[in-house]
Symmetry: C2
Subunit: 277 residues, 2 copies
């Protein structure tokens, strides 16, 4: 592991680290905020999965999350959104390839060689973090923005018992029926739509649900509302009687000004779940 | 005035605007956060002046200031750090020319044609803001980071009665004796060091002081401590018996992780002064 940077931040440390990923067959970079309490022993963990075009850095500098995580004594993990590097396949479009991993294991060329983000997020990175940092991996929660909200919701529902709570900011809720999804799922998983269902939060909600509380915020002025399809998740939550709070926030758009505005709410929500037992 | 963007943010609006500057003879861009209270009438104003290489945008997205400004009902102004554009003089170095205006009126070629940042900050932009937005220009305060801390301190001490309070994050305290200062003051103002004194916070503190409270935070691990020279400002504050709080924050560096950590303190400090009368 290489330490890229470590900065004092809200009484703790905001670090950036690089390690060789076996899943993705390339170096992967992530941000990790450790609150002051981590000096005395393992602390709970909140994952923040980012959206299209983002690296580990966007949320780390723009979401204002450290203030509230420090207050709650919770660590924050900011993974990258895809494998990267010269030998890694890419596409000219902003929404495919590097910066757009969609949190799936690609089976199709040219993506399969590196784009194994599901395994990286579900197995490799958690294990790496648990082995190298003072984190209590029995107390994890997950959130994310846009494509990262999709990742947070699908990981949380597919890994029962892993996360105490899940939230999302303007998540892609129904990628199998959206231009933010059909294109990428075709490229990464192939044309058989039956294989896509495991990566659709609305379908997972209908079939599986989540054993814990769910919080989702979306702005009424989100410029990508037609692509996010929050209505399909809302319908699935209602049908399932899932414990959940779904909010449409008047006047807010898709930006980090929206994310930062509601970050305190989300971290308080996760703190309740992480410290509730 | 051109509206570049307006995003809902903490119940208010984070805007970015462009206008033709008479002082700088070019278009200038600034950020303005208006809290919800601005819908009902003029609100107090806190200026945030940025450091070397920054535009209006850095603090606007990285300092986490809107959360606390919203809580206090205070507007935030994020000016640019220099004139910009193809016809504007520049230098290859990061610390001279565009992005490095140093908040002075240049008298020397090639800078004098556009680099009139003192007039822009002291006269033109305040008048423009007062005429175009619901701001109470009788209640202003000012802060800044690094070169912007220098700007905040020198403007506050040189414009008696203008600002109720002044603070700074890791300010350049003594530019007439620092490589962050001597180079730029020579380029912009010429070799006569007698003309530089009006732009040195430590000298101004010794000779003039500030009629109100002062708050300065600097990190003990700031990688630019030798260039900032906080000890000269500390000595001047002591000699003058200036009402002031000067803090050295253990472990913190020069980054926005440092700035954001202490932003709540600074905005609370200014709110006390702005609402105290």
């Amino acid at each position: 592991m290489e330490i890229i940077s470590e900065n004092a931040c809200f009484g703790g440390t905001q670090g950036v680290y690089k390690h060789a990923s076996e899943s993705c067959h390339c170096d992967m970079t992530f941000g990790l905020f450790l609150p002051a309490e981590a000096k005395d022993g393992p602390v709970p963990v909140l994952w923040y999965l980012s959206g299209l075009t983002c690296t580990h850095e966007n949320a780390m500098v723009k979401a204002g999350a450290q203030a509230w995580a420090a207050e709650q004594g919770i660590a924050l993990v900011f993974p990258d959104t895809s494998p990267r590097g010269e030998g890694v396949a890419d596409d000219e479009a902003y929404d495919l390839g590097q910066g757009a991993g969609f949190y799936v294991n690609a089976t199709q060329a040219p993506w399969a060689a590196h784009f194994q983000m599901w395994d990286y997020m579900a197995e490799e990175l958690p294990e790496f973090l648990g082995n190298n940092f003072p984190l209590d991996m029995e107390r994890q929660a997950i959130t994310g923005h846009s494509m990262g909200g999709h990742g947070a919701l699908t990981l949380a529902m597919s890994l029962p018992g892993r996360f105490k709570s899940v939230s999302a900011f303007a998540p892609i809720c129904n990628p199998t029926a959206s231009d933010w999804g059909r294109k990428q799922l075709t490229a990464y998983l192939g044309a058989d739509e039956g294989l896509w269902a495991a990566h659709d939060a609305s379908l997972l909600m209908r079939n599986t649900g989540f054993d814990g509380p769910v919080l989702v915020d979306t702005g009424t002025e989100d410029q990508f509302l037609d692509l996010l399809r929050p209505e399909t998740l809302a319908a699935a939550v209602s049908e399932r009687r899932q414990e959940a709070t779904l909010r449409l926030q008047k006047g807010y758009d898709h930006s980090y000004f929206f994310v930062s505005t509601f970050m305190e709410d989300h971290i308080s929500f996760h703190a309740d779940a992480l410290y509730g037992e």
